[in-house]
Symmetry: C2
Subunit: 460 residues, 2 copies
């Protein structure tokens, strides 16, 4: 097909070598189309990033990392690439700081207080029921869409719980899922996101849920392997500053070069698409959407120990610490247990507060929480690793971009709708497992299919 446009550098340019962009490039190659991938960073993977451990020869992850059993796309891709997974460590008891005391419990929701537990249960049931009525491909078409998009997840929790403990549990869950506070998020967006994952339990659970498994070689092994297998040019350190577009033709300005193609797939977080100089400007609906889909904030804080010492105590390494900067903690040790890694999530407003401290103070604050949960041994890690995604020029937040009230009903369709030769990909644009690796894969496939169909029609 390239022969049809000999004046172009490629049939399709893909902007962003994260998981979605690389999957799109691979699919386009498989369809016989010529591709160039432009990546702003000096590496591939976007929000997936391995970090070598100082003990042993394993890696841990400082970006997205888990997979769940109903994430068929990422599991199939991993199988195809020959990448092994292992179960997230989930043996023994979890810990919660309850009124200043570390209390052990089993399961995803702490069983510390029957009234809170019942309250969480009834609200979750109601929420799940509402979520099932929302088609994640068109949440704005739900019968109650307008009413749900008019309120925040936070005001819904406040009105639909009777204890003070239940909204706190939901707040912590929301923070880890979206990197944002319930007060920030449209109820309709939260319902659509939940529907796209199958259920709220699927979002928060380890066993049976989104945190069930990890990649033995780290989650970045997926984009790394994809990039290795790609035969198309992959231009690193080539941020795209400008895109000129007309019917069937784009010029992409990447790191000083001008590249031409018949179509472009833009596979970067939605807010960053607004930093591109579009000539002509994108339609109002898209531009206004991009002003209304902020990135959450998340700092991943990892402490490395010679051994996962908490396992000796029958503890899973999972904890909820409402008072900590890191309110949610996981065991992030490598599959072979060659060292112990404790991972704390500092998200939402806490991430922005922590970011204002000096490095020493940040480390001290996070380790203090680890000690409160797992004892004095947690105070002296071999290494302390931090990744603040909001400080990353080419990401500007984590784990995902969400919609505040009003945005989904007014602009939701503009998130995915192609504009002439411009197509969109990325975890945010997925209609199944939105915001997850699985969604990134399906979004890349979908965009590649749409582009191929468009180019095939243009040839007729």
């Amino acid at each position: 097909m390239s022969a049809e446009s000999p004046q172009n550098d490629a049939d399709v340019i893909v902007v962003g070598a994260g998981l979605a962009g690389l999957v799109a490039a691979r699919e386009l190659e498989a369809k016989g189309l010529s591709v160039i991938v432009c990546e702003a960073r000096d590496r591939v993977g976007g929000r997936l990033l391995n970090e070598p451990l100082p003990i042993g020869d394993q890696v841990t992850e400082v970006g997205g990392e888990w997979l769940g059993p109903t994430q068929y796309k990422i599991n199939a891709l991993a199988d195809e690439l020959g990448l092994q997974r292992h179960a997230t460590y989930d043996e023994g008891d979890n810990v919660i700081d309850w009124n200043g005391k570390a209390v052990r419990y089993g399961g995803a929701i702490p069983r510390v207080n029957p009234a809170v537990l019942a309250d969480v249960g009834q609200a979750q049931l109601r929420f799940e029921r509402m979520a099932r009525s929302v088609d994640p491909a068109e949440p704005w078409a739900a019968k109650s869409a307008k009413r749900w998009d008019r309120q925040t997840l936070g005001s819904w929790f406040a009105r639909n719980t009777a204890t003070s403990g239940a909204p706190l549990m939901f707040e912590i869950a929301a923070e880890v899922i979206w990197g944002a506070e319930p007060a920030d998020i449209s109820l309709l967006h939260a319902l659509a996101y939940t529907s796209a994952a199958g259920s709220f339990s699927a979002l928060i659970d380890v066993k049976g849920g989104a945190q069930q498994e990890r990649f033995v070689e780290g989650s970045q092994s997926v984009p790394l392997r994809l990039a290795e297998q790609l035969s198309s040019p992959l231009l690193l350190e080539s941020p795209v500053s400008r895109i000129d577009h007309h019917e069937g033709a784009v010029s992409v300005y990447a790191g000083g070069r001008e590249l031409t193609a018949r179509a472009v797939i833009v596979a970067i977080p939605p807010p960053l698409t607004g930093h591109i100089d579009w000539q002509p400007l994108l339609p109002v609906n898209r531009d206004q959407l991009v002003q209304r889909i902020p990135h959450g904030a998340a700092i991943k804080c990892l402490a490395v120990y010679p051994r996962p010492f908490w396992r000796d105590d029958g503890l899973s390494g999972q904890a909820i610490d409402p008072a900590g900067p890191a309110r949610v903690i996981y065991d992030n040790s490598p599959a072979d247990g060659s060292c112990g890694v404790m991972l704390g999530f500092v998200v939402g407003n806490r991430a922005r507060e922590l970011a204002e401290l000096e490095p020493q103070a940040r480390q001290a604050a996070v380790l203090k929480g680890f000690v409160r949960m797992f004892g004095a041994q947690a105070a002296q890690p071999v290494a302390y690793i931090e990744q603040d995604w909001a400080r990353e020029r080419w990401t500007r937040g984590c784990p995902v971009c969400y919609m505040p009230p009003g945005a989904m009903t007014a602009h939701g369709a503009a998130l995915r709708a192609p504009i002439g030769p411009i197509h969109w990909a990325g975890a945010e644009t997925a209609t199944r497992w939105t915001g997850y690796m699985d969604g990134a894969v399906s979004s890349g496939e979908d965009a590649a299919n749409a582009v191929a169909a468009q180019l095939a029609t243009a040839l007729v």
Copy 2:
């Protein structure tokens, strides 16, 4: 003082020659500092823009235009510049489309139904009382800030009114004030904005309120006169693409040139500050704010007639048309009445819907509403003028940027706080009459004072 930094092109660079930027430049000049103003467009004025009328030698306005009696800053500046004002035409009855029938009424709120009127009254009273407890300089410090920032203005209206008419009246008011739907806006932001204007009545009223007067030579005469009187270089068609910043030093890349200075005042709408390539990146709190302060959407639609014919019928030319694309209509004729100008506001979701139609269909839809309100004579204007601010590359919306829930309490302070040598101005950053010309003036003065104080300290 320029002698202290002979290596610099100026003491201060001002980005944006809107009202705020020009006032800042003028104040800096008055303090003996050297200034360069960079403006992306080929004109000054930003959201203030005159349009010559096809009949007579007068202008009308397609951007911000009104002033109110408590807007001391803009009134004082206008006096100083010798710019005359005239009363907004406000004689006779207003019209509302009530269940498909044009009904005449007096005052700001239609007296068509006593139950609705009482309902609007009690809700407005409650809203005004809440607003008075919010200090617009630090809304996040209000006692109920968290609770109010967790909900939207839309969910508050829904819960605090008993009729279906009252929320509709508030919706239309909110649309004209913010160019957004009540569902989009944080209740706390709306309260702070109201408090900054003095009262909700001050926002919506003609007599005694923000719409009381107009400039005889059009509102753009203010920035035009300021630019004339400026002795500093004013670089038009010089969009700022990148700013490097260190303590006491900035390099501003504007239209291909690199300009250096000791400080910079950035006086452009907040979302556009995110399009600048900041080296180094701005702090997380600022970057996350910019992802959460979208511009409203507004199209100003003006029909020009040989005479303001509605005045013959004892009509003010003011109308509320819930069914129209233009839900709010004003008489926008020039002071000398040399022709009649009818102005329709198409805002919020309606602006984005209208933008998707072809020009002919847009005109037909707007005129149809004018006819419904003012009779068949409205069908045949001499000219039809449209200004869609969301399509403007260097504005991206109108009339103002607002905050969705969660943003004010988490990031509000970052809207104004200087970052080293970087200072912010613009109507959005004002603490009195936020979003209005008056706020633009005070924000420019405040930024100039802060910069002068900073540079004076640096000299010691």
